[in-house]
């Protein structure tokens, strides 16, 4: 009894959706669905805030008067092992989120610069893995045969690898060089198969759909079919995969910096700050809490957004 009306509802919704746009998941409807969820609104606000923080880091340094590398000896107590003077890790009008123990660097400014590093690395890695993953996944799924065999085996190989251990080994062995670029490369090498596998599966389904048959019958070349007919239908999947990949890379970058193989000091990075803060948790918990909170909020917001996006798009696909 109850299933029949719901199916009908879905159908009527789908019918209503069809005339508004050619694509199966109209962006407007997805956005409307997302806007109804307070969790998504909050997440987007947080992401925007952190992105602004990253972009405006130099401005923040000018406003507070402290650069990311400036020491402030007057803010720490040399006789007590260098702990920040004042409550809550030295929070004051001078240093809005307190200072780092041992050197007195301003935490707010370093968190802002750290956001710059984290977001740049995570977004670049996402861009690279998405490009690689989508192209290779589509080639494997669409053409099948030898291309599929080769790409699938490479993916199996990379996915079977103990990724974190290998990243640590690789990054320790490589010369210091340009760390952020190295991080993006290493993250991308191990990240693309996860995208490619999903894309390959979806492509294989789409390959046999009617509109592809139609395109093929009308004489379109395979490349054109892949990129003009199949790719637009993967749009939703790609957006969801990308949104969910970003927090993964932010977390991995922080983890690698925590382990001392990521971004090199003195470049500020959240993972590194948390790593340094571990020893200080008992006397200066704020030093741990502040970068930790920023890291948590960023990862959490991207994950919530990605999840909701997937739900919204899935609902569209079901139609």
């Amino acid at each position: 009894m109850s299933t029949v009306p719901s199916e009908l509802a879905v159908e009527s919704e789908a019918k209503g959706a069809l005339p508004t746009g050619g694509a199966p998941t109209p962006a407007r409807r997805v956005i409307a669905t997302l806007m109804k969820s307070p969790a998504v609104v909050v997440s987007v606000c947080i992401i925007v805030f952190i992105a602004l923080l990253a972009v405006c880091a130099p401005l923040l340094a000018v406003i507070t008067g402290w650069g990311p590398y400036d020491f402030d000896k007057s803010a720490i107590d040399s006789d007590l092992g260098g702990i920040p003077i004042g409550p809550l890790g030295g929070i004051s009008a001078e240093h809005w989120l307190g200072v780092e123990p041992g050197n007195g660097r301003d935490i707010l400014v370093r968190v802002a610069y750290g956001a710059q590093v984290s977001l740049t690395i995570a977004l670049s890695a996402t861009l690279v893995t998405m490009t690689l993953g989508v192209v290779l996944g589509m080639v494997a799924g669409f053409f099948g045969g030898l291309a599929d065999q080769i790409i699938s085996r490479v993916m199996d190989f990379l996915m079977a690898f103990p990724t974190l251990i290998f990243m640590i080994a690789l990054l320790s062995a490589l010369p210091a060089g340009n760390r952020p670029v190295l991080l993006v490369i290493v993250l991308s090498i191990f990240g693309w198969p996860y995208t490619a596998r999903v894309i390959r599966g979806q492509t294989m389904t789409l390959r046999n759909s009617e509109f592809v048959e139609a395109a093929r019958a009308s004489g379109a070349r395979p490349m054109r079919i892949a990129f003009r007919e199949v790719l637009p239908n993967l749009r939703g999947t790609i957006i969801v995969l990308a949104t969910l990949a970003v927090p993964g890379y932010i977390g991995t970058e922080a983890g690698l910096s925590f382990l001392g193989v990521g971004v090199m000091p003195p470049t500020p990075s959240w993972g590194q700050m948390i790593s340094t803060a571990v020893g200080w948790y008992a006397v200066d918990p704020m030093f741990f809490l502040i970068p930790g909170t920023f890291l948590f909020l960023t990862v959490f917001s991207f994950t919530v957004l990605g999840d909701h996006l997937r739900t919204a798009l899935d609902a569209g696909d079901a139609a």
């Binding site: 020491f71 000896k73 092992g81 260098g82 000091p265 006397v283 200066d284």
Partner: protein, 565 residues
Amino acid sequence: MKQRTALLALTLAGSLALAGCSPASDAPDSGGDGIGGTPTAGGTLRVLQNADFSHLDPAQGFDGGVNNFYRLIYRTLTTQGTGEGAEGTEIVPDLATDLGTHNDDATEWTFTLKDDIFFEDGTPITSADVKFGVERALDPSISIGSPYAKIVLDIPEGYEGFYSSGPLDSIETPDEKTIVFHLNQPYADFAAVVAQAPFTPFPADAGVTTTSVDQQPIASGPYRVTEYQRGSTLVLERNEHWSKESDDVRGAYPDSYEWSFGLDGATIDERMIAGQGDDRNAIAGSVQAASIARIQTPEIQERTIQGLQGCTTYMPMNTTKPGMDNPLVRQAINLAVDKQAVKDGTGGSQLADIATTMMPPTVAGFTEFDLYPSDDFAGDPEAAKDLLTEAGYPDGFSFVLDIRNNPKMQAQAEAIQQSLAKAGITVEFNLIDSSTFYEVIGTTSQQHDAAITGWCPDWASGATFLPPIFEGTQIYEKGNSNVAQLNDPAVNARIAEIRAMTDVDEANAAWGELDEQIMELAPAVPLLFEKAVMVVGSNIAGAYAHAGFSGGIDYVSVGLADPEK
């Protein structure tokens, strides 16, 4: 070579778990008893330690921590004294009856052994055993410890230790109690050389091999190893054949010692601060900077020991690199470094004093001076800029600093980087993994423009401090300790002159003056004299920091106040 390991104890594991020493002024009470009065014999003393000892074989281990440990199981002809400050670094007789007698030019040294000295199996220690111990230690496969036997004994070309080349003619044993050493140079301080660990005796006829000692040591001291799991635990129990009457140095109060290795530094601090259960009978190495604020309560202060490690943390500058070959540049860097910031990064005033000289105050002949002064040691970027302009770098200068991948060193490096930036000097870091750090900076083809490292004297004399790190003849392609690669004719000549002095006091004073002469050339920036701050258990007695062992708690003097607890 040698200091690579000594340094390991000092900086890498700065808090290894056995550091900390106390100048006489910090003495909690008189009599050299250290904290908690004189111990009572008996009980089990526990040691919480981060890293295991490098080697149980005295031919191989060579750092403050392991040398301290060796005194529990091994004896040498002479050894360092007990007590805080200079009392502890004084050389006193151990197996020998006195500090040896020598011929006129100090090239031939004779020692007589005491009576009633035995190995752990009850066989008496004879002069042949001492001779065998040295010959064994000269085997190239194990001679990675203290190098002084190799340096001063008259060893024929191509001699490769007892197992390959047989007995060594330059050590004579006219009878069971007498041993005579022939040296290749006059050496007034030879009594300190025979206190080095490779002079430990081993039974000449008991089937000892190159590797057996590291597995199963043969004790000549008050304790023997009864259980050893590498990286995990080490248990010592009394050697019944050792007699207190034959030994003026060792208190040897506890019945047994038990080491726990592989503990995290923060965990050790946590346990020592709490001091519950068996940890009341425990000692450990220096606390971490983050724990300093937590040990300020009167209850914990009562069981805290503090003191200099007797080492210098410094930044040698590679004088062969372009730019760094100009003394003006090196002087400018000396002027610009904010040593106060370096100190704060290391843990503040409780964990470090600022160094303006290369030799630490614990070394005999130490002379205080500051050739590159600034207000509050905060650096003088303006004066540095002037010098740089004069040197031909009006637009600044940049160099690469080799540092170890560890938080304390990074904090020091960041402080240096930040202070030099104010003088227009750009510092780039080359982060090196801790395990290979000394190998890299000790290889002339791999080191960069500067490094942050440390140096501890092998005994409290300038002779074991300045020459290894600044003598031109001691620059080696690998295992180099003269990281600055300073090869200054005047300095080299002066070192040779001081070496030839037969009066030890005169030589010590001369080393102090040489320190200043070297600093005028500015081959290095002396940064800190790091200190150790150690919290001991509430039932610990007789604990004090020994200046001869990187400031570690002297193992042979510590014990329990009440073994029944």
